[in-house]
């Protein structure tokens, strides 16, 4: 059996949603999602179009903190403005899958990237949702991922609805000129799915070693718990090797699983390495 870390299982589950039919956009810093798209592009979805920072048809890149945009642009097939990208992909029904990683989600699928507490007088003001309201409404498949699965994150009701896919039924979405597909939540414990406005999220699969009760206990909203729940597919040896050796050799996908202090230390370490590597590379180039 292949040894793997939980973030690698999540990366592989997300990657399995990317196929050759579609366009996948990389926006705000979400290393777990980036790694998933690269993995798909290097394995089963070589014809998928990745769009990173509006570099259209970007090549798969090694994840790092300082040079990802430059690498995306170096191999891209077109360079668009953000308006052209969003008109064509988001609004033009070409968006296959894009991940969102908000602060909270609730049982209606509403997620929050704006604030904790009252909108007008927030306890914590967060960055805002960028294009995520349009992403969750217009793409075919929506994946929301979290580095932790608890009642502070999967909440009874979000403080603010930055975005929410509506409606969810395939028939009604098509009638309104929208792509149809479910909303999934990917966490260290399980995969949850919702495709019906009238029904709660359902446990689609349990990650290895996790019991359904553990998921219910750590979820702040009602869940449908089927009698038989499959286990989330485990990463293969090839997938783990690709992730560790080529896509994410510096381990940026751990970012979402760390607390604030650990994140800071990880960033410091990664940046020291990137500085040293860049200086060494510049000396090689100068020779």
């Amino acid at each position: 059996m292949t040894e793997y870390r939980i973030e690698e299982l999540m990366v592989c589950r997300i990657a399995s949603e990317v196929d050759d039919s579609g366009v996948t956009v990389l926006g705000s810093f979400t290393p777990l999602a980036y790694a998933s798209y690269m993995l798909a592009k290097l394995t089963h979805a070589r014809d998928a179009y990745l769009v990173g920072f509006n570099a259209i048809g970007m090549p798969p890149v090694e994840l790092n903190l300082t040079g990802t945009e430059a690498a995306a642009y170096r191999g891209a097939l077109a360079r668009w403005s953000f308006l052209t990208t969003t008109q064509t992909v988001h609004l033009g029904k070409r968006g296959l899958v894009e991940c969102v990683s908000p602060a909270q989600i609730d049982g209606t699928g509403a997620f929050n990237l704006a604030c904790i507490g009252d909108y007008a007088h927030p306890k914590v003001r967060m960055p805002g949702g960028a294009g995520s309201p349009e992403v969750v409404q217009h793409y075919e498949r929506i994946l929301v991922y979290f580095g932790r699965h608890d009642r502070r994150t999967l909440v009874e009701q979000v403080s603010f609805r930055t975005g929410q896919r509506a409606p969810l039924s395939a028939e009604e979405r098509r009638r309104r000129g929208l792509l149809a597909g479910p909303v999934r939540i990917i966490t260290p414990l399980a995969v949850l799915i919702k495709d019906d406005d009238e029904r709660p999220f359902r446990i689609e699969s349990l990650n290895p070693g996790v019991a359904a009760e553990q998921v219910v206990e750590n979820t702040g909203f009602e869940l449908e718990v089927p009698a038989d729940i499959p286990t989330t597919a485990e990463p293969t040896a090839d997938q783990v090797a690709l992730l560790r050796e080529r896509i994410d050799p510096h381990g940026t996908t751990r970012f979402d699983f760390l607390d604030a202090q650990e994140r800071k230390q990880m960033l410091r370490d990664l940046l020291q390495d990137e500085w040293d590597r860049a200086l060494a590379a510049s000396r090689v180039a100068a020779r």
């Binding site: 926006g27 705000s28 810093f29 290097l42 070589r46 920072f53 509006n54 570099a55 090549p59 798969p60 300082t66 040079g67 945009e69 430059a70 690498a71 642009y73 360079r79 403005s81 953000f82 308006l83 969003t86 988001h90 609004l91 990237l113 704006a114 604030c115 007008a120 927030p122 914590v124 003001r125 967060m126 960055p127 805002g128 949702g129 960028a130 294009g131 995520s132 309201p133 349009e134 409404q137 217009h138 603010f160 609805r161 975005g163 929410q164 896919r165 509506a166 309104r176 000129g177 929208l178 080529r246 960033l267 940046l271 990137e274 500085w275 860049a278 200086l279 590379a281 510049s282 180039a285």
Partner: protein, 299 residues
């Protein structure tokens, strides 16, 4: 002979009146017009209505300097380096008026402005609460042809747009070869357009590569040469993210030293900034990460 629109950075205050609405280019951690932002801070051009779609340290520093009255935005973030500290505090304290708009709608609003239209339609944005908290940006409308319910997005026409590019000639023909956010639409929507550039070039250099000219000179009012003008954000293909500087900013603000950082920015010239913030090693590192960040061969 074409008009010469070149002015020094120090003349920026004559182009951005206090109280103006100012659109800032760039997106995520890419290509924000930081040299222009620093000049606004030096000259204390205040009471601004800042319009920035995917904003970052640019907007945070203007808020830190106390220059922002109102902000229209879809995101303000330091990404991996944390919440934008001054944006966060100003909203929590209720000292900043905000108009929060979804990201695609921001693009549509600028597109409407660029087309001399009062609004443009788009399909709905789901059950987002943003139209409720920002009613001035969104209105439900009915398609006159099909009767479908759509969302009207009100045009944005900033008094001034500040956009950073790779190279421009004296007439303002401006080229970009990396991430440009929604800069071309912002440039067209603005009543006055100021372009800062990594380097001024002659018109022959522009004409040799016209596919890169995303902003033609006839919409440009002023051109300013500003090397490393997007620093510490990226300017691909020239330089990558100065993540070390962004992290130092986040750390300083976290330790209550934000005012010191801003005072230092305000006290030096742009040349002085480059000497302080960009020593030889750092320039080499930033240029190297942009040149050598690895792509992965699919073969």
């Amino acid at each position: 002979m074409a008009a010469n629109k070149v002015v020094p950075l120090a003349e920026l205050p004559s182009l951005v009146p206090p109280g103006a609405s100012v659109g800032l280019g760039g997106a995520w951690m890419a290509n924000h017009p930081m040299a222009a932002v620093r000049q606004l801070i030096r000259d204390r051009i205040g009471d601004l209505h800042v319009i920035g779609s995917l904003s970052s340290i640019d907007v945070d520093q203007l808020i830190a300097a106390g220059l922002v009255r109102e902000l229209t935005f879809s995101m303000v973030s330091l990404e991996a380096y944390g919440l934008a500290p001054h944006f966060r505090r100003a909203v929590q304290d209720g000292t900043l008026r905000i108009n929060e708009v979804s990201g695609v709608a921001m693009n549509v609003a600028l597109d409407a402005g660029a087309r001399n239209l009062p609004f443009l339609p788009m399909r709905d944005i789901g059950a987002s609460e943003l139209p409720e908290v920002t009613p001035g940006a969104y209105a439900e409308i009915e398609c006159p042809f099909t009767g479908e319910r759509l969302l009207g997005i009100r045009a944005l026409n900033p008094d001034v747009a500040l956009v950073h590019v790779l190279r421009a000639d004296a007439a303002g023909n401006a080229q970009v070869e990396g991430p440009m956010g929604c800069d071309p639409e912002l440039a067209r929507a603005a009543r006055r357009l100021v372009v800062t550039c990594e380097e001024l070039v002659d018109t022959e250099t522009i004409a040799a590569n016209p596919a890169s000219t995303h902003i033609p000179g006839f919409i440009v009012d002023a051109v300013i040469e500003a090397p490393f003008g997007a620093h510490p954000t990226t300017h691909v293909p020239r330089y990558g993210l100065d993540a070390w500087a962004v992290m130092a900013y986040a750390d300083a603000c976290g330790e209550g030293r934000g005012a010191e950082v801003l005072a230092e920015l305000a006290s030096e010239t742009e040349e002085g900034y480059r000497e302080r913030a960009l020593d030889e090693d750092r320039r080499v590192v930033l240029e190297t990460v942009a040149r050598e960040a690895p792509t992965l061969e699919t073969a």
